[in-house]
């Protein structure tokens, strides 16, 4: 009968059912999306593994007509990765990568559709200058990880296999010989972050679903009262209510499946943080989808039964709610305390690659967050009971909250949970970011990019090309290597830096300097070897060999008699460099191959696309050597992306909850239409009623967000302690997340004001 009621309630009934179904549907779609994530990751891993150039095998591949030489030519364009490889077949049966019909010839390339589009657009102009190959084909979807992936395979020319250098490899097939999955466990802190992100973003969704099945609850109660009048007992009415909720939830499941399928089709056009997916990746795992299909209707029934627990449905259309029993604190505290108890044993486990128990982490975080929903009604009840009376609007609001604090708490529960989770995650991310920034010391004021000069390129030529590049302010050039006391298997190692006086002054304090000088840096941190090598007073060897490895340069070099001393200073990489400093003419010609050129580039960041201009110059020098953007800056960008992503995700969840809040708010106002009209009739100012509605929202929201901040900071602290990261509260995150929460609620209240004003019209008094 309940199901029939759900579908035969006239226009209003249909509206209520639709609202519930859309609400539940949105939640279900999000849950299905989450259920599809393991499959997405698996598919992406499979595709990536299937086209690997490195086969991770000890098997020697000898040259044949079924082999090719391949080199990774991945580059970066506008801080987005452009995957690429140079392929040079050694015979007619050379393997072809997945998604490609035919290997491109020299000077040709095949590209992914997204790269083709980019290269054809104005935005891709600089990349066209870098990838100067003729496009002869498109890589099919089967060869791509995602539809927005930027990938190319270009025909190689002059690639040579170098046993000392693995840039060029010989392969007889693409793809790793293992299954592509990594045996190394996921970094524990990363695992913790992933688990917490899931719990934090999904818990509010569950709360949203619970709120959605209660849409129209008060009208339903009145209808049930009418049924009582004609003889239905309270158990029957509960069954009918359950049936009605079940109908809404099942329709919501259908809607959710529909939303998910529509979203799945749209997924191909969406790219987030350089990740795009093909629609066919988004297949929820059967078990998880079945769990959603069972859990959502079950939750609907459970929520309805709980909601009816405090309601006495009597005949004559009267639904009297007696003053509710005083809420008890003890069992409400059990939830967050239980959560803390589950997390406590894992404190410090992030240290030294320890492990986290996934179930304990999920359970602990879940209990802490659910604890917010248990504690909030108690907190609202206790606080509003102590609030004194003030103006009429305040009195109306507080009295209403005192009478139905549960409704008010329910309205902000979702927001509070989302905010608490987001605060905890932001703390975790900020803590992790802080750790990393401490670890990297690159001095970004002195250089922002670094380029390793290939062996066959003269250092001066590379310096010249970068100096001429627009946006490069300064090129600090060195040749770097190592020196040992023996030709082979040295025990003492010290670094060697070759450069002109100006460049050497960037890495040490020199007393005086002219070409031909050699310096030993005295007193650099972690460098005992240099002093010992000086004391030995015998020939040293640049680039000494090691047993079991191919022979190195082993260039003999004698320290000059007039060896000067230099004092250490921070070099551009942020370390105190030790070892020997050699001006160019002091390095014997035979020792030149023993050192590798390194360029540190200081950029004028105001020049548009300066990093890509540098990368283009590098590609002209050698397409297989990409200059690196200094780590601290790059890392910080990644963290910023994650933080922005979390902020966006949390804001979306908050908006979703805001939508349900608006529906509940409007429903409550509609229930009070007659009363509002009566109050206006006997002269109540509209401002008084509006302020009363605002207070009714502001008080529970204030309490909810305070509780959310306390729980969020507690959870964040525990997570940081678990990860062994020093605890610090990121107040900006706390403020921004609570601010967003407050904004959503205020927005909802503002949106509900026009209907409120309409409902205050005297027409509400009319009965005919």
């Amino acid at each position: 009968m309940g199901v029939r009621f759900a579908f035969t309630g006239g226009r209003e009934g249909w509206g209520r059912l639709l609202l519930t179904a859309v609400g539940v549907g949105l939640g279900v779609a999000l849950l299905l999306l989450t259920a599809a994530i393991p499959n997405v990751l698996e598919k992406r891993d499979e595709r990536a593994a299937a086209r690997m150039l490195f086969t991770y095998t000890d098997r020697e591949v000898s040259k044949g007509d079924n082999t090719l030489l391949a080199a990774d030519a991945t580059t970066t364009y506008r801080e987005e990765s452009v995957g690429g490889a140079l392929l040079q077949p050694e015979g007619s049966r050379a393997p072809v990568p997945v998604g490609v019909d035919k290997l491109p010839g020299a000077g040709e390339m095949v590209v992914s559709p997204a790269l083709k589009e980019l290269l054809g657009s104005d935005e891709g102009k600089l990349l066209r200058d870098r990838l100067r190959y003729r496009v002869v084909g498109t890589i099919a979807d089967t060869g791509l990880i995602g539809p927005a992936e930027l990938l190319f395979y270009a025909g190689g020319e002059g690639l040579v296999l170098d046993p000392e250098n693995s840039i060029v490899v010989r392969i007889d097939k693409f793809g790793s010989e293992d299954d592509g999955s990594s045996d190394s466990p996921l970094d524990p802190v990363l695992l913790l972050m992933v688990l917490v992100v899931f719990v934090v973003l999904l818990t509010p969704v569950a709360i949203f679903i619970a709120a959605a099945v209660r849409f129209g609850g008060e009208r339903r109660d009145r209808r049930l009262a009418a049924l009582r009048l004609i003889g239905s007992d309270s158990r029957m009415t509960r069954r009918i209510a359950t049936g009605e909720a079940l109908a809404g939830a099942v329709l919501g499941l259908c809607f959710g499946a529909g939303f998910f399928l529509i979203g799945r089709q749209l997924a191909a056009d969406i790219e987030l943080f350089e990740i795009s997916v093909f629609p066919d990746y988004l297949n929820p795992s059967l078990g998880l989808a079945a769990l959603v299909a069972v859990a959502v209707p079950a939750a609907a029934v459970l929520v309805t039964m709980l909601a009816l627990r405090g309601v006495v449905i009597e005949p004559l259309g009267v639904v009297r709610t007696a003053r509710p029993a005083r809420r008890r604190l003890w069992w409400r505290l059990l939830l967050p305390l239980g959560g803390l108890a589950m997390l406590y044993p894992m404190i410090g486990n992030g240290r030294d690659n320890g492990e986290f128990n996934e179930y304990l982490v999920t359970g602990g975080v879940l209990l802490l967050l659910i604890g917010v929903t248990a504690l909030l009604p108690w907190a609202v009840e206790v606080v509003v009971a102590r609030l004194g009376s003030g103006s009429v609007s305040w009195q109306l609001a507080i009295r209403r909250l005192q009478l139905s604090s549960g409704t008010a708490a329910r309205m902000v529960n979702g927001i509070a949970v989302a905010v608490a989770g987001a605060i905890a995650l932001q703390m975790l991310f900020t803590g992790a970011e802080g750790e990393y920034t401490e670890y990297t010391k690159n001095d970004l004021t002195r250089a922002q990019m670094q380029f390793t000069v290939p062996e066959d390129v003269p250092l001066a030529s590379a310096v010249g090309k970068f100096t001429e590049t627009k946006g490069v302010r300064q090129v600090i050039a060195y040749s770097e290597g190592y020196v040992g006391e023996r030709r082979k298997d040295s025990q003492l190692f010290s670094s060697v830096t070759v450069g002109d006086c100006a460049s050497l002054r960037e890495v040490a304090t020199l007393p005086s300097c002219r070409d031909g000088d050699v310096f030993a840096i005295k007193g650099a941190a972690d460098d005992d070897a240099t002093a010992k090598l000086v004391e030995l007073g015998r020939p040293l060897y640049l680039d000494p060999s090691d047993s079991g490895l191919p022979r190195s340069t082993e260039a003999a070099w004698t320290l000059p008699k007039d060896l000067k001393q230099a004092q250490p200073r921070m070099d551009p990489t942020g370390i105190e460099r030790g070892g020997f400093l050699i001006t160019p003419s002091a390095l014997p010609a035979h020792a030149a191959p023993a050192v590798t050129g390194q360029l540190y580039l200081k950029l004028d960041e105001s020049v548009p696309d300066v990093r890509d201009l540098v990368r283009n110059t590098a590609a002209r020098i050698d397409p297989l050597v990409e200059p690196s953007l200094w780590a601290s800056s790059q890392r910080s960008d990644e963290y910023e992306n994650i933080r922005v992503g979390l902020f966006v995700g949390a804001s979306c969840v908050l908006l979703l909850i805001g939508a349900s809040l608006l529906v509940s708010q409007l429903e409550q106002l509609r229930e009070r239409r007659k009363l509002l009209s009566a109050l206006v009739a006997f002269g109540t100012r509209r401002r008084t009623l509006t302020m009363s509605v605002l207070w009714q929202t502001a008080v529970p929201v204030g309490l909810g967000l305070t509780l959310a901040a306390v729980v969020g900071i507690t959870l964040g602290t525990v997570l940081l302690k678990m990860s062994d990261i020093p605890v610090s509260v990121d107040w900006m995150s706390v403020l921004s997340m609570t601010g967003v929460g407050a904004l959503v609620v205020m927005g909802v209240t503002l949106l509900s004001l026009p209907p409120l004003v309409r409902m205050m019209r005297p027409e509400g008094l009319r009965t005919e």
Binding site: T321, R399, R400, L675, L679, F682, G683
Partner: protein, 228 residues
Amino acid sequence: MTPAGSLLAAHDLRKAYGPTNALDGAEFSIHPGEVVAVMGPSGSGKSTLLHCLAGIVTPDSGSILYDGREMATMNDAQRSALRRSEFGFVFQFGQLVPELTCVENVALPLRLNGTGRKDAERTALSWMERLEVDDLKAKRPGEVSGGQGQRVAVARALVTNPRVLFADEPTGALDSLNGERVMELLTEAARSANAAVVLVTHEARVAAYSDREIVVRDGRSRDMERIV
């Protein structure tokens, strides 16, 4: 024309809701201390007449004079102020604020007029005593019976010493015994305060408490005496 000495008078009132003419040239007048019953079948326009007279609804045309002032010239704030200070209301349903206690409900109009809480509740309690519901002061409307609630509503309507009391089917939801008691208390209290009472009802039993009756039919009003 306005009858001499009338406190509230309406002339040629017209009001339409869409295609339905709720009032079609209705006339009305009431003197201080007088109880006038407005009778008529459901949908005849009697509630609309009450809403127009009380300044809740603006008529499409016609004039309403209250104490010599034309209500059509008043803006919404002025009409609200008038309802707060000079008028009192009793409706059939939904007038008590469920979350306020009975004494807070009765004190509400005083508080809206700016009276302090304690003073307002003291005055409210004295009216509750007159209407024999002072023992309900700490209860909420959901915890009292229909008749008790209606008496609380009458106390609230009279607490500001209004010059006109508008009662729209005040006993519509009550049994006859409770209805009669409410009417006795209402008319007694109004007369002792010299308040005029506009009593909308379709029950002759309730109308019997009035000094005069008018009938509204198809949006037009007629004095009962003329058709008898």
